[in-house]
């Protein structure tokens, strides 16, 4: 076996020479964590106040009771979004909806669609169905391989579990990654960094 100890030593010296001695990230990280926690608490209070207002209004005006019940999903499976109420997001680990389900959330005033489909992420299939390879970036999402598809409206092909190919037209930038037997798709962010921050719950 060839002795590479000299190379190892040179690499270790390179690490020793990296100038991070004066860096103290703990303060900045803790500051950001506390600031985010305060923002989340403020959002929760706003949402709680909003819910109280809606429920209070429902009690005052019987005609709106049915609408409120529908908003909460008590009387049917459909969910309606109240445009007056902000939706709290980014409060922790990202949770995708179940297979075949779609969730719409509001982030920074934009409607973000989160959906899952049973299938496999096949880069070759995606590459063939997207208009240009320039639109595809390989990314890592929650430790899994994923793709960021941006630019002009595009088609995305998925390989279903039975091996057949399903193609869907997507109008907005899309982050897609494999999570077990399902593909998770987050659609609607302009920047990849924002989509990843949303998935990371930050």
């Amino acid at each position: 076996m060839i002795d590479h100890s000299d190379l190892v030593e040179r690499l270790e010296l390179l690490g020793d020479a990296m100038d991070f001695d004066d860096v103290d990230l703990a303060g900045a990280v803790c500051l950001e964590v506390r600031a985010r926690r305060s923002r989340v608490r403020a959002r929760r209070w706003l949402v709680a106040a909003g819910v109280l207002l809606v429920v209070g209004a429902a009690a005052s005006y019987p005609d709106s009771r049915q609408a409120v019940a529908r908003w909460f999903g008590f009387d049917s499976l459909s969910v309606e979004v109240d445009p007056e109420l902000s939706v709290p997001v980014g409060e922790g680990p990202f949770e995708a909806p179940g297979p075949g389900e779609t969730l719409v959330v509001e982030v920074g005033g934009r409607a973000i669609t989160v959906s899952t489909v049973e299938g496999r992420l096949n880069t070759a299939v995606v590459a063939k169905t997207v208009g240009s390879l320039e639109q595809i970036d390989e990314v890592t999402v929650q430790g899994q391989d994923g793709l960021w598809i941006s630019g002009a409206p595009h088609q995305v092909g998925y390989e279903s579990l039975d091996g057949s190919i399903a193609v869907e037209r997507v109008a907005q930038n899309t982050l897609v990654w494999q999570s077990g037997d399902v593909l998770v798709r987050v659609e609607g962010f302009v920047e990849l960094s924002d989509a990843l921050a949303f998935v990371d719950g930050t």
């Binding site: 060839i2 690499l11 270790e12 020479a17 100038d19 990230l25 990280v29 990371d200 930050t202």
Partner: protein, 211 residues
């Protein structure tokens, strides 16, 4: 067994969040600090950051190719780690789990920059500090430049394994956990990558002598 330990730690964390001083935090192991962080103790998370930031910064620098950008990458990554505390399942060490998030952030950072900046000059931005006097520095500086250039000519996988193993100082087990590969894969990749690094260094020296 691990689950029991963790539950005890969480329970203790809730009871003593406000009473533990920074000096006492330094004596807690990582699992206890993580459990206390989950319970809302930001100072405990700060201690985790302090403990592992050096390896994280070096790891981000070798993957991202820039010591300057490494600071921003690691700061963002650690904030993400805090937001994902609940997702730690104890399948590896806390340190490896945190460094894995850092590695993923660094990889994503590089990919997002690829369109804007050509990679050729990236590893030239790994700045280092002087270790010795002027003469030694000059010699070491040239050696270091040649090493950085040779690292840059390697594949991403080779660069990552050598960088994380020897520049960032991760153990073989930690490398396996951070990159999600088997321990044997880390060993074989390291051996092959060292061989290719030697070839790059020697072929470059030969070219310089001819010139």
């Amino acid at each position: 067994m691990f689950g029991t330990l963790e539950l005890v730690a969480v329970s203790e964390g809730y009871q003593t969040v406000s009473s533990m001083r920074p000096a006492e935090l330094t004596e807690c192991d990582d699992v206890v600090l993580l459990s206390r962080s989950r319970g809302g103790d930001v100072a405990a998370f700060g201690e985790l950051v302090r403990r592992h930031q050096d390896a994280a910064l070096r790891l981000a620098a070798v993957i991202g190719g820039s010591t300057e950008e490494a600071k921003d990458i690691v700061q963002d990554a650690f904030v993400s780690v805090h937001a994902s505390l609940a997702s730690y399942r104890g399948t590896g060490s806390v340190r490896s789990w945190m460094l894995r998030v850092v590695a993923n952030h660094a990889k994503n950072h590089v990919r997002s920059q690829t369109r804007r900046r050509h990679r050729d000059d990236r590893h030239a931005r790994l700045s280092t500090r002087p270790l010795e006097g002027a003469d030694v520095l000059a010699e070491r500086g040239l050696e270091r430049e040649a090493l950085i250039a040779a690292l840059h000519r390697l594949s991403r996988d080779d660069r990552e394994v050598l960088g994380s193993r020897f520049v960032a100082g991760l153990s073989e087990v930690e490398c396996a956990e951070v990159f999600g590969v088997a321990l044997g894969t880390v060993k074989s990749r390291t051996s092959r990558a060292l061989g290719r690094l030697r070839y790059e260094l020697e072929s470059n020296e030969t070219t310089e002598v001819r010139q």
